[in-house]
């Protein structure tokens, strides 16, 4: 196995954002999507990786995985044998026809079974024309060059390109995975944290590791300790505990108390979209009867639809509370 670049925790790295500082450089460090990552790690040692598309929501390590693969696969010749283009680079038809093709034609001496890699990050932002002009290039030079694409939605990638790649789907990280990484970072940074704070960060991150680390760093540098209160000062969201209380009141068919909380949140100036989103997320974990929870979610969904349609007044949220209370009453 070619040695991975050393995780040099030099002083320089102190200045980096934590998402860069703790960006994994080995496959073992990549959190989540274990199955696919493990398979990719096989290719990093065995070589001859097919063209791949990694699709998934932001912050789950798509780019990191690809970079890991390329780095381990190519080792020292990374600079010569990797062409990385992301959305900030120009990737029009001309670039594909000239730059990428030139790179594919280029001769780089590599060990056996290794190929040059073209990394197209955020490939779904490429224009259709550029993708079309890429399709045959991918095939013709497949003996020397492999492509690794990362995108959020695979639908935006035209079928001919998808047809030339193995599709790998990454999903959101589970809360436990995010939490594990957070604890690791906290220990490395010697932060004072409590479970409440970490859980709050996990809640706000919603399975997005990048956001979790950013929030952690913001909290740590803004307030020092990682506590729930501090986290919610940084990530200003409708407080899940408040919402939980509110839903519990609804489940107990007590609309007055529930409305009090809602009015408070409204007075604080939260957007109805944020409130409804957090209500939903809290409701998913609410400790009530499953049937009732299902009905709750349905009502929340209907209200969400109204809000998205533009009826985002306090009235709609209040009607949600009333509906929830009715559901609770019928049970």
């Amino acid at each position: 196995m070619p040695e991975a670049p050393e995780v040099a925790m030099v002083d320089k790295r102190n200045n980096l954002p934590w998402i860069e500082k703790y960006r994994p450089v080995k496959f073992e460090e990549i959190v989540g999507n274990e199955d696919t990552v493990a398979r990719l790690s096989v290719f990093s040692t065995q070589g001859n990786s097919p063209n791949i598309i990694i699709a998934g929501p932001p912050g789950v390590g798509k780019t990191t995985t690809i970079q890991c693969l390329a780095r381990i696969l190519l080792g020292d010749s990374y600079k010569d044998a990797v062409l990385e283009l992301n959305a900030s680079n120009e990737r029009g038809i001309d670039v594909v026809r000239n730059k990428i093709k030139m790179f594919a034609q280029q001769k780089v001496t590599l060990p056996r079974g290794r190929h040059k890699i073209v990394i197209l990050d955020e490939a779904d932002s490429m224009t259709e024309g550029a993708q079309q002009s890429l399709r045959r290039t991918m095939e013709i030079y497949s003996n020397t060059t492999r492509f690794a694409l990362a995108c959020n939605t695979s639908e935006k990638i035209i079928e001919p390109i998808q047809s030339r790649c193995a599709m790998l789907r990454f999903t959101k990280l589970s809360d436990a995975q995010v939490l594990a990484k957070l604890i690791e970072v906290c220990q490395l940074e010697q932060l004072k944290y409590d479970e409440d704070g970490l859980e709050a960060i996990v809640f706000t991150a919603q399975g997005d590791m990048r956001q979790a680390l950013n929030n952690l760093q913001s909290t740590a540098q803004g307030f020092g300790d990682i506590t729930g209160a501090n986290v919610f000062k940084v990530c200003d969201e409708p407080h899940p505990m408040l919402l939980q209380d509110m839903l519990q009141h609804c489940a107990a068919n007590d609309i007055h108390k529930a409305y009090k909380i809602l009015a408070k949140l409204w007075r604080l100036g939260y957007a109805p979209e944020d409130i409804i989103g957090n209500i939903f997320r809290v409701c998913k974990r609410l400790n009530v009867d499953e049937q009732m929870k299902l009905n709750f979610i349905r009502e929340i969904g209907i209200t969400h639809m109204k809000i998205v349609d533009g009826c985002n007044s306090l009235l709609q949220l209040t009607s949600l509370l009333a509906q929830l209370c009715m559901v609770a009453e019928s049970h």
Binding site: G47, E159, A180, G228, F280
Partner: protein
């Protein structure tokens, strides 16, 4: 004249100071001549008041300064001039004869140039003796007269002449000397008396010419303008003779005078195109009566509509320079005549002199430049120099002096059009050296120091300052930050009292207590290579029965060969590491393959090299057919293509090919579709093997493929250039060889020994014929690939080689005409055959995979073989399912496709010890890193298909039904029992119904939520809600367990136009039902029909696009085409069922 020149230059360069000086310096300068000169000028000022004023001022100034300078330099000048004359006179005699020859024009041009040179030369000759002056007195007199006369020529005159010249009216310019006579005489000293005489004579001549012209003009004035012009041209052609005759009568010495007179007239002839006849005529008419009046008229008539005048309009405010320049030009005009006379005589010596004397930087004046000269008047320094030099006052000294004395120049911007570039002065060698030294020297110390300091600073900054400093402001202490933080009221603090209660673990997230205990256990990424399957042949033999009609052994043998070949290939490569630069050409590959076939008859499997256990190639490359025999699926279209190509293959080898070893027998009915056309369109979905078929056949039939794909620049021009050339040249070469003996010999030889290998080698010696392959022809980039379509059509019309066009879209507008001629349609290969093919392939790769998995994955990928191969490679080469954690298997998601694959599909027979891998499909569909049962963005069509299965597996429904005691197998959907029982048990079944109703309500709400389209760039709450709702509903309402979720669905079944258009395009459901849908349907139908007939069928294109503008970012007709297909099918079925 020089005075004026100097003045003009002076004036133009420094307008204001000179003006002031002129105004302040009082009486002395205002000589009577000056006043005389001013008066007409004021009268004849051009119409605009502003310019009038300016001109007036300028006139005064000019006159005053003129006087001054005249007094100063007259003597000196005279002497110089005489010296010049002397020199000229010596050369006068030979040239004088040529003057009368009649070709005046070239001479005049020369003289014009010579004038300048001569004047420049004159100062040097100041030392020449006085006798020479006396000798050529008439000439010098003439010259001096003019020189003295010119100061007196008023500014207005100069200007007018310039103007007239600009209009092309040269005749008026000639009038000017008439007025100047008196001032010159007064001012000139006694030696100029003779000159005065000359001037008078000359003036008479002038007047005569003018009169004549006026008469002619009177006649012309009645006629049309064009006729006038023509007439005048004629008359002017006749004019010089008259003028000459007059001159001869009046002037004592005709030789010098004829030339000047004829020259200007001729010059006028060259011009009259640009002038306006009417103005000319009027001016001429009035000019006869009084000079002042004529000029006035001229001034009035000098309308700005003139073409040339409009150019002057570029400089509306810079009238004074214009004036000055006009002076120059005006001076030029009179000067030219005498000058001609002189220069004609004494040209050669002066020229020589000029070369020596003129400053090197000064540009020589050419005739063309002179013609444009009037409009170059601008006060920019270079211009000034040019004007002065162009005018070439008799002595250049004055000009130079003035130029030097007036270095302060008001910088005026001039359009680059009018700036004439001065040749750069030859740089000083010292400067050059210094410059070179500067360029060669490195970074100066100062800059280097600066840079190093900056670097130090940056380094210091990086070292000392954090990227995200805890303290943002200098001087703010840690404690103070804390203090302010307390005061700073954050919003969240409002709710602190409420949220003070700590959330219990897991209340808001899915984290558990154990998660906090420690980090996740490290996964072991150990990888064990797949165990080599030894007895592949036996397994294949086992499968043979299962794979009925599939050429199992053929497939197996082929693959084994390829596998061995590439393994051996890799192993061979291993000894001599050549890196990736080694590119396998098809020919070498094939020949190697052939060799190996002969060499390695033994059954020992070749092992891949240790360093690259996965090989180097993609499966798609590794196992693609290289010969026609190796094509296992999609035989029919490939056969068609081969027949087409066989006509283009010189030896017709394709037709004779035996197809004995193809177990899928196909009739050898070689249709003659390709004979009369050279173009073939291959249509088919993605990865149906179009391109591969072409390459395999080309390889087999010995074609050279010229490929054009979307990855190249393919403008029409480029395409034509490259391909046309290639085809023609190849064609020629081929034809040259075709008649030759070797080919026939070869054929005979081939027939003699039917061994394929030899034959191929024999063919390889032959010239490979070309074949043009245009890939992705339906993709058209309008802006970058202009003319691509036309090039294709031209190519199809003209090429002598077969052109194969590959396209995906069958409704591609710009290929319709070609498609009507010859089309081979490819279809996605049959799933069953492919699965068997894939199974053998997987076995070859030591990783036998269950047939069901392969079928499912293939279908899930929408019958995309290439993608399936890619994913298969990814799966196999990353170790199959052996190394994966068994976590997901515990969830037990038997993901089979009950609808498609045979429900009791026979498991692949295995031999003992061989593990058949299974989790391929699961990996790529639902279980790849996903925790959900139902794939995340809920596809409600899929859900609808799966409802049966869900309800069958629903424990809740079963319980309820069992509680009713009625033997009912499933829910409402699959009510096998007669309706009666359902009705009878209605009361008892109520719970089941309510459960179902509840379930459906949730589902419908979820479907409603799902409708919001998101860009997918961020997780959308609506999608999430819908998914949760569905999943929860399935689990709680139905309590379904262990259900299989079918993930593929025949796409044709679900095309519905209204769905595709999106609900919000339609105003209401009723309008949709009544208005849009039928209309769109009929449009689609008609468009589809039209598309078959015409090349362009975009009549309703915009309408359709507007309909879909909301949900389809790129308008693709396939939506409607699919809809059309459905509709047509419906129509067909209805018509079919109708008669029945």
């Amino acid at each position: 004249m020089t005075d004026v020149n100097c003045l003009t230059s002076e004036h133009t360069t420094t307008t204001t100071p000179l003006d002031e000086a002129a105004f302040t310096t009082p009486t002395k300068n205002v000589s009577p001549s000056a006043t005389v000169a001013t008066s007409p000028f004021v009268l004849r000022a051009p119409p605009s008041a502003k310019s009038k004023l300016i001109l007036q001022n300028m006139e005064e100034v000019l006159n005053s300064v003129k006087q001054k300078h005249r007094e100063k330099h007259k003597r000196k000048r005279e002497e110089k001039r005489r010296a010049a004359m002397l020199a000229e006179a010596e050369a006068a005699t030979p040239t004088a004869t040529t003057v009368n020859g009649g070709h005046v024009q070239p001479l005049r041009e020369k003289t014009a140039r010579e004038n300048g040179s001569k004047s420049a030369a004159s100062p040097l000759k100041s030392s020449t003796p006085q006798t020479s002056i006396m000798k050529h007195f008439c000439k010098t007199e003439h010259k001096t007269k003019q020189a003295t006369k010119t100061p007196a020529t008023n500014v207005f005159e100069l200007m007018m002449s310039a103007r007239n010249r600009s209009m092309g009216a040269n005749s008026n310019g000639q009038q000017s000397p008439e007025q100047t006579v008196e001032p010159t005489t007064t001012s000139a000293p006694t030696p100029q008396s003779k000159r005065k005489q000359m001037l008078q004579e000359w003036n008479e001549r002038k007047g005569g010419a003018k009169r004549r012209m006026a008469d002619e003009a009177r006649g012309d004035y009645i006629e049309l303008q064009l006729e006038q012009r023509a007439k005048r041209l004629k008359k002017m052609l006749t004019q010089p003779e008259v003028a000459q005759s007059k001159q001869e009568t009046t002037v004592p010495n005709p030789a010098p005078n004829t030339a000047p007179n004829s020259a200007p007239v001729k010059r006028g002839r060259g011009r009259p195109r640009t002038r306006r006849p009417s103005a000319d005529v009027e001016s001429i008419v009035t000019a006869k009566t009084d000079d002042a009046e004529t000029v006035e008229f001229l001034a009035k008539l000098a309308s700005p509509t003139k073409k040339r005048d409009s150019l002057l309009g570029y400089f509306p405010k810079v009238i004074s320079p214009k004036n000055a320049a006009a002076e120059n030009t005006a001076i030029e005009t009179p000067k030219r005549r005498p000058r001609n006379s002189k220069v004609l005589t004494d040209k050669p010596p002066v020229q020589q002199e000029e070369i020596g004397t003129t400053p090197s930087g000064r540009p020589r004046r050419s005739c063309a430049a002179k013609a444009r000269y009037d409009y170059d008047l601008e006060p920019s320094p270079t211009k000034l120099k040019q004007t002065s030099s162009a005018v070439e006052a008799e002595d250049g000294i004055e000009i130079i002096d003035l130029d030097n004395s007036n270095p302060a120049i008001t910088p005026k911007k001039l359009a680059p059009l009018f700036v004439r570039q001065l040749p750069k002065p030859s740089p000083d060698p010292t400067i050059l050296r210094a410059r070179r030294e500067f360029l060669q020297s490195g970074v100066p110390d100062k800059i280097r120091q600066e840079q190093s300091r900056q670097r130090n600073f940056e380094q210091l900054y990086e070292e000392n300052f954090e990227l995200f400093p805890r303290i943002a402001h200098v001087g703010s202490e840690q404690s103070r930050v804390r203090a302010t933080k307390a005061n700073f009221k954050l919003r969240a603090e409002d709710i602190d009292e409420l949220a003070a209660r700590k959330s219990s673990i897991g209340s808001i997230t899915s984290c558990t207590r154990s998660d906090f205990a420690g980090a996740l256990p490290k996964r072991s990424l150990c990888w064990t290579p797949l165990p080599v399957v030894d007895n592949k042949r036996a397994m294949v033999k086992n499968w043979k029965n299962l794979f009925d009609r599939f050429p199992t052994f053929k497939c197996y043998n082929q693959m084994r060969e390829k596998y061995k070949h590439f393994s051996a290939f890799d192993a061979a490569q291993d000894t001599q590491p050549m890196g990736e630069s080694f590119v396998v050409t098809r020919r070498t590959r094939r020949s190697m393959e052939q060799q190996q076939k002969h060499l390695e008859q033994n059954d020992e499997p070749a092992k891949p090299p240790a360093t690259a256990p996965n090989g180097e190639l993609l499966f798609t490359e590794k196992y693609k057919p290289l010969l026609f025999e190796q094509v296992l699926v999609n035989l029919t279209p490939v056969q068609e293509l081969r027949d087409f190509l066989a006509n283009w293959n010189g030896n017709g080898g394709g037709g004779q090919r035996n197809s004995q070893d193809d177990s899928l027998d196909f009739g050898n009915d070689s249709s003659s579709l390709g004979i009369n056309s050279n173009t073939m369109v291959l249509l088919g979905p993605c990865s149906s093997g179009k391109t591969n078929a072409v390459f395999a056949l080309a390889n087999d039939m010995n074609f050279n493929v010229l490929e054009v794909n979307a990855g190249m620049r393919r403008t029409g021009k480029k395409l034509m250039q490259e391909l046309q050339e290639a085809t023609q040249s190849h064609q020629i070469r081929k034809e040259a060889k075709a008649g030759a003996a070797p080919t026939q010999q070869l054929l005979q030889k081939l027939q003699l020994n039917g061994m394929k290998a030899k034959r191929q080698q024999g063919i390889e010696e032959d010239v490979r014929k070309s074949l043009i392959l245009i890939e992705d022809a339906d993709i058209l980039f309008e802006n970058t690939d202009a003319g691509f379509t036309d090039a294709i059509y031209t190519l199809a019309a003209s090429s002598k080689r077969p052109v194969i066009i590959v396209a995906t879209d069958p409704n591609c507008a710009h290929l319709q005409r070609l498609m009507q001629q010859n089309t081979i349609r490819f279809h996605a290969p049959n799933a069953l055959n492919i699965s068997r093919f894939l199974a053998v392939l997987a076995l070859m790769e030591d990783c036998p995979i269950e047939l069901d998995e392969l079928i499912s994955l293939y279908l899930y990928n929408q019958q995309n073989l290439r993608k399936t191969l890619m994913e298969l490679q990814f799966f196999i080469q990353s170790g199959g399912d052996t190394h994966t954690t068994r976590l997901q298997q515990s969830q037990q998601l038997p993901s089979k496709s009950p609808s498609r694959s045979p429900s009791k599909s026979a498991r692949l027979a295995t031999l003992d010890g061989v593990h058949i891998h299974q989790r391929l499909y699961e990996f790529y569909t639902c279980a790849q890193n996903v925790q959900h049962y139902i794939p995340f963005p809920v596809n409600f069509r899929l859900l609808r298909l799966n409802l049966n299965e869900l309800m069958r597996s629903s424990t809740l429904l079963q319980e309820q039904q069992s509680s009713t005691g009625v033997s009912r197998a499933g829910g409402k959907r699959k009510s096998r029992s007669p309706k009666k029982t359902w009705l009878s048990t209605a009361t008892t079944a109520k719970t089941a119904v309510s459960t179902l109703a509840n379930f459906y309500e949730h589902i419908s709400t979820a479907a409603l939520l799902e409708q919001e389209h998101s860009d997918g760039l961020q997780p959308h709450l609506g999608e999430e809600l819908a998914h949760t709702l569905v999943e929860q509903a399935v689990t709680t309402c139905l309590a379904a367990k262990g259900y299989a979720y079918n993930l593929f669905d025949k796409s044709e079944e679900r095309v519905c136009l209204a769905d595709q258009l999106g609900s919000y395009c339609m105003r209401s459901s009723s309008s949709r039902a009544l208005d849009y849908e039928p209309a769109l349907r009929s449009i689609c139908r008609s468009e589809k029909q039209r598309a078959g007939l015409e090349r362009r069928s975009s009549r309703f294109y915009h309408y359709l696009r507007n309909c879909t503008v909301n949900n389809a970012s790129n308008f693709a007709t396939d939506l409607y085409d699919a809809a059309c297909d459905v509709l047509q099918e419906q129509v067909e079925s209805s018509t079919a069922s109708g008669p029945a």
